[in-house]
Subunit: 482 residues, 2 copies
């Protein structure tokens, strides 16, 4: 556990590193990110071994996650090299305007030291060197990571590798540190040197930290990804055309990573009497369960199932509601209820159950479907399976209102890391209007500064007339490409 | 006063208007904004008359402010027509990648109904049809304005004109409404239909509303501009070269609008013994005071002066600390202290005093200057007057850390409305990383949505392959201009 004196030394060092990192050219920070990525790639086998011993997620999945994580670091190196992330805008002076307009130029600067809270379920991609860390380092913010207790040995080893790689690549001391323990985590969010927080975890834990961030004398942005039930809608025509394929796809998605993805499809709207339940029961019969990430999660899983199953309008479609997930691993379970029951008791029936389970919600009419959909809490994703000639405009509209990503004809569990990705959504999916995955995640850790009538010598390179960085900019209202 | 039943009807109507406004083409919303601007221009004389009777700011200033306000509405019409504000990003599928990458396309959608709190000091530009309203309407968000009690008659008349113009231009019912009274304002921020808040006002009032927004079951972004003391630094060389010119410029700036600008220079770092105080005393002798906006402000002004002047290290440079601003109008006052005193008692000496006053802070060395500057709370602006061969790199760095706009060789009170403007800054200047003036203010009221593998028919026009809107987009990582 990091004690509070040590924490203060760490955040003070981060604050001291901040202006140095802010002044480092983009090309140099890109090298830092690539150095970290290379270092992690070199140590993949060792890291996967430690991660598997702590999370039991298996070496195939974990190896893929290391590759995704290093790919993410390299994407942000590309993003800052391309330069649009600086949002450089130049408005030249117009002395003839009424009133006369001065020369104004705007660019984004790093906010300063950032706290990052690791997630339990992605020990690499949303952890010590995950997307929050990569995007913060990319824009020039020192990072202090709060380790997740579910994979502490891995976190410590990751932090060593990240710190070594950064130091060897020339990053300033204080650019990166790891802290452990809940007390240190809370103090980190309250620390005056910390200027923003990235978080992936539970609604309860995330909201408590959000409240600390918001009630500081100087409040700071809290970019939390808290919880998501990721609704899926199957139209009647889709189920008629390919019930078995859909059942197989759904089962693969809700059991992926033993049901511990933030994007797991937690509720599935299915047409009443369409026969989809039998298809799912068949698919689940062949699906594997597995050990859950932590004892706490393993104990909560059957409790969540039992709570749902005790509702008079919930039936069991497949799998054992009574199970000892802690001792024997979690077994996939599918439950079912009705749209009417969901409208009556949304808080009970739409609670996220972390683990390999999903709730089918039978609907009779589009009206019933839309009524129940309106009760679904904000989610990271919303998915639609329809046939080409289905009229689904209203359904798509409703899904878009509830989620940050609308998936057509696929499953939400995969999250591509690219320029367009949005991994966010209305509360409680996230506490902000930003993504934690993909290129635009960088904007969370930047603040605009405008320079008025600045002599060339005092303008950052991004704003100098001759565009020495060769980046896209808006000049006098028009985008100018390099 | 709007009672709570009426408030609920208003926010429900706004929620009903939201999807209609979101679906309206940009060109149509641009027409709405221009219709409002035209209507206000037609009624300038009437509006200025009402505003002057309530604010006593004078018809010249108020007429200019109407022009600025309608210019702002038209700027946002241009911004949404240009289309970059949608931040459209398209990443085509890459089936050969490991893992295969789906087609992902991201665009910004309006967040939904927005609450806007008017300011006392800009009855047009930061009020009923000011920048917050313009930027929210522009992106398709219905707006509910909380009127400022300091210009209620004007607010009601403005709201009539805005609502009429919007209705005649074809905007949906519920797109715009006005509420009055503190209770309605608090309830507005807590209302579940409201998805974001724009605010300009005091630190105390703004923080109270920020706390309501942050403690909702579903927290919402609160874009507050609260308070700012706007430091100015004069170098020794600048004062040697042109003390009288600087004194005249400073006096014009801190007395503009009777010292009631958010960007008023509240503290001025002056070289010890450089003779600047005499120059200021001379300039202030010729400066006019005037009536303050409200009785509360008029009573607070001399109280603030007396509190500062009672400090043992504060001296009076010019003007009457004892004055009856409520009865006789406010008289300009300049006080002075030392950098050492500021470092010892920053909370007392750096408190914003609203009205025509500024505090000179004498510094001996750059070290002393930087030490005192580090105590300055986050501000909207920071200003430097230096000579060409001054070495001011450290000072510029310190100013940039404290403010959202760094002004070179000018005065901060003018705020150009353009693409590059940033009217924001570290807390308490603002509660967010966004501006409330200029084109990028629109981003406050938009949320990203990603569409994965969407059939063309379900993609918004901004994301369709043939780019029917003709807007700039990022396609497969590269910006493509129309």
């Amino acid at each position: 556990m990091t004690d509070l004196d040590e924490l203060r030394r760490i955040t003070a060092a981060a604050a001291a590193a901040a202006p140095v990192a802010a002044a480092a050219p983009d090309a140099e920070r890109a090298r830092w990110l690539r150095a970290v990525a290379d270092r992690l790639d070199e140590h993949t086998d060792e890291l996967v071994r430690i991660a598997d011993s702590e999370t039991r997620l298996g070496s195939t999945r974990l190896g893929g996650e290391v590759a995704r994580t290093t790919g993410q670091l390299r994407l942000f190196a590309d993003v800052i090299t391309e330069g649009s992330y600086l949002e450089a805008i130049i408005d030249h002076a117009d002395p003839s305007a009424t009133p006369p307009k001065p020369d104004v130029r705007r660019v984004l600067h790093p906010v300063g030291p950032v706290a990052v809270f690791s997630a339990s379920n992605f020990p690499f991609a949303f952890s010590v060197a995950g997307g929050d860390t990569a995007s913060a380092l990319a824009v020039g913010c020192p990072v202090v990571v709060k380790a997740h207790s579910g994979h502490l040995e891995l976190s410590v080893r990751m932090a060593e590798l990240v710190a070594e790689a950064l130091t060897e690549a020339g990053a300033p001391a204080g650019m990166f540190a790891l802290v452990t323990g809940r007390e240190a985590g809370n103090a980190l969010v309250a620390d005056p040197h910390i200027k923003a927080v990235g978080f992936t975890g539970s609604v309860a834990g995330g909201r408590a930290l959000f409240d600390i961030a918001s009630s500081r004398p100087e409040p700071i942005p809290f970019y939390g990804e808290l919880g998501s039930i990721n609704p899926v809608v199957l139209t009647s025509a889709a189920v008629s055309a390919r019930a078995e394929e859909l059942a197989k796809g759904l089962t693969g998605s809700f059991t992926l990573g033993v049901g511990q993805f933030c994007t797991k499809p937690g509720v599935v709207f299915v047409p009443d009497g369409g026969g989809f339940e039998d298809a799912v029961a068949g698919a689940v019969a062949g699906a594997a369960g597995g050990p859950l990430l932590t004892d706490r999660i393993a104990e909560a899983f059957p409790r969540g199932l039992q709570s749902l199953a005790s509702d008079p309008d919930v039936t069991v479609v497949a799998g054992p509601v009574e199970q000892d997930a802690a001792a024997e691993g979690a077994q996939p379970v599918v439950l079912a209820t009705t749209a009417r029951a969901v409208r009556e008791r949304p808080d009970t029936l739409l609670e996220e159950v972390f683990g390999p389970t999903t709730l089918l919600i039978r609907y009779g009419s589009e009206e019933e479907l839309l009524g129940a959909l309106a009760e679904v809490p904000g989610s990271l994703t919303a998915t639609l399976h329809a046939e080409a000639d289905d009229d689904v405009a209203s359904i798509v509209g409703a899904l878009r209102e509830r989620a940050g990503r609308v998936v057509f004809g696929g499953w939400p569990t995969g999250v591509a890391v690219n320029w367009a990705q949005h991994h966010g959504g209305p509360y409680p999916a996230t506490t902000s209007l930003f993504t934690s995955v993909g290129a635009t995640a960088a904007r969370r850790f930047q603040r605009p500064v405008a320079y008025q009538s600045a002599p060339a010598a005092h303008l950052p390179p991004a704003l100098q007339d001759d565009n020495p960085l060769g980046i896209p900019r808006r000049v006098d209202g028009v985008i100018v490409l390099p």
